[in-house]
Symmetry: C2
Subunit: 374 residues, 2 copies
DNA sequence: ACGACCTTTGCACACGTGTGCAAAGCTTTC
DNA sequence: GAAAGCTTTGCACACGTGTGCAAAGGTCGT
């Protein structure tokens, strides 16, 4: 192997090519190509000889050169935000694995804020990605149109379509259904004064969880007693607890739009108000992050099936490779309750044993309604 | 723009090319190329005309085609494991941002287990990545040699070199120094019976943290009273607490190789042994995960500077693009103590105020010793 | 053995772009 | 105006591979 010869002007690198294999195996480069192309016509003995030669010289087809030819890179862009957030961390891991299992590679862009999404998408497009999964923000119409022109399908995860619903497939947790689950649980357990702790006002995840909760209570003839905003953070949850729990009509159950706020609220309820959980106050979170299972919290929460979310997103991208994602196509993934000890339960026979490994209720079917425009 | 004409055999996609821009601007494709190549010779007026035309037709250079020419893809492979683990999540986020800021793109491979690393690396090589950051496992010598042949530098993060130290740069936290910090803190606070809770026996992170702790105690004329293995997990930490705290010579301080085990140990110490933390038992973790700051734990811990770790890794990759990483090159990033409330402190004047926002001590300089071969 | 049919193979071109080099064009100096 | 020097420009080839197509080779049936 004489690859130590460095050609000038090639950045000091030279790759093992199909020409090296062809020489070694005594065939043409076309035969080498065909030996590595599923379904291509090549004699079995020739193929064997080529693969042996490829192994000997350390050759593997250049995916970059292939993609120039085939117009398929095998690369899927993934635009994501806050990887340190447990939900996004799990989502990215699940996306990565789902893509790898299908022979695809995730080219990851980390959006420091939602506004960076457009710029990152343009950069991804220049790498001729076969599709993009966006879990950071909604898209501007300019970018959506640009992806459509390039026949690069977009799949939005847990985001609302807005005015460009025609150019993106949408995949998301059934947040409304999740809110319903919580309402059903708390109402059945006899709570009288329910509160909702929102994340950030403009976010669809927060508003949908609230909508499910409110409509679920209404189905039991109940209304929301109190509502605060906690900014999706531990500190925000703790601060909101001061306002919620200081009321004369103090809630006896609080549904928090995410786990982190729920933990903050629990700590403040105990430390500042001396409340026992769940005896004096039931608390329910959303997302089933690892902290929810800690013995100091044992948080009852709603879990998204992140693996299925990722599978659905990857499937949607694959179904539309080379074209434009079908318009107004939305896939809802059902949520499920994870019962631990932070919320009082309905009386038996509906209740089941609690053990350190949380029990999970059956998922409710997706609510089936299309989400409102963002 | 007539890109609706779909050529047969092209996967249904056609990209806007430099030929479209050339036609629009009345120049050659070479001029278009030069307008987008920094330092290339092109008249300012011509350049302006070309950029306007490119904007009008929605053109951006095809990074794939460029990389075929230049032998530089601008893509860096990142092999990582357990993204849901807070440390790896933060590392990946920091790597992503550091790469993006340098105009590089991370092609991410998620290793379900360390054994998958080799196979994932081969796949990354076929995408002609400019380098690889590996944070999942050490490498086999076959793969390391292959990367060297391709002049694709490897940077290992928090991994030991093993027998292929010549082909990879190494970047990692100064775990030994971190262990020293803990020993100094606990000894100065007057603890008499120190214990170490290891993660997994064969891992360098656990053994180095232990080594720093033990040698730090020795410098104070102290020895380790007890030692257990917690498998880096919450449950493991809880189980180990039963063994550690049930001893006749019960430790008054425990240094855990990671935060997760520390939380488990704290929960068991309180619930099973009725111990107060830190009055009866001081507990120190490692990694400063988000859970460490929860009010129910307020864990004193050792933080790695993940941002600096990522910066160092990306810098190392960039310095060696097109060549082989320098042999036996190791960059240690100092750790720092994050003082919260789980460990008793030395008496004043050394002590400072504690507030809900944890105080941090100055980082100790790296221990400066080369790590032992894995 | 010959013809029909099928399989395999190599040639040459395509994919989109960067660049060496020669020619064209422009600017400065005398 | 002419010569020298500098800048700009387009051509044609390279990069590594996939594939249409024609030629070569192999197999089967009569």
């Amino acid at each position: 192997m004489d690859d130590e010869i460095v050609e000038p002007g090639t950045g000091g690198r030279r790759w093992v090519t199909s020409a090296d294999v062809a020489r070694e195996a005594g065939v043409s480069r076309a035969a080498v190509s065909r030996a590595f192309t599923p379904g291509a016509s090549v004699a079995p003995e020739t193929r064997r000889r080529i693969l042996a030669a490829a192994d000997a010289v350390g050759y593997r087809p250049n995916a970059i050169a292939r993609s120039l030819n085939t117009r398929r890179s095998g690369i899927i862009g993934v635009v994501i935000t806050e990887i340190a957030n447990p939900f996004y961390a799990r989502l990215l891991e699940a996306l990565g694995i789902a893509l790898q299992e299908r022979g695809l590679m995730p080219l990851v862009s980390v959006a420091p804020d939602p506004e960076a999404t457009d710029e990152l998408l343009v950069r991804l497009l220049s790498y001729q990605v076969d599709g993009v999964v966006v879990a950071s923000a909604t898209l501007s119409s300019g970018i959506a149109a640009r992806c459509a022109a390039a026949r690069t399908p977009i799949v939005l995860v847990d985001r609302r379509a807005g005015e460009h619903g025609r150019e993106a497939a949408l995949v998301g947790a059934d947040n409304v259904g999740g809110g319903h689950l919580v309402a059903d649980l708390l109402a059945a357990a006899g709570h009288r004064r329910h509160a909702f702790l929102a994340g950030i006002e403009a976010t669809s995840t927060s508003t949908e969880r609230e909508r499910g909760f409110v409509s679920g209570l209404a189905a039991h003839g109940l209304t929301l007693t109190a509502r605060e905003v906690g900014r999706f953070s531990y500190v925000g949850g703790r601060d909101a607890a001061l306002r919620l729990l200081g009321r004369a009509d103090r809630p006896d159950a609080v549904f928090c739009a995410n786990d982190e706020m729920a933990l903050g609220l629990m700590d403040a309820a105990r430390a500042t108000f001396g409340l026992r959980i769940p005896q004096d106050l039931s608390v329910v979170g959303f997302d089933d992050t690892p902290s929810a299972a800690l013995a100091s919290y044992r948080l009852t929460t709603v879990a998204q099936d992140v693996t299925e979310l990722a599978e659905a997103a990857v499937t949607a991208v694959q179904e539309h490779t080379g074209s434009v994602a079908a318009s107004a196509r939305y896939r809802l993934i059902p949520c499920r309750l994870v019962l631990r000890e932070s919320a009082r339960l309905p009386p038996p026979p509906a209740s089941t044993l609690h053990d350190p490994n949380a029990m999970t209720t059956a998922a409710v079917p997706p609510s089936g309604r299309m989400p409102a425009a963002g």
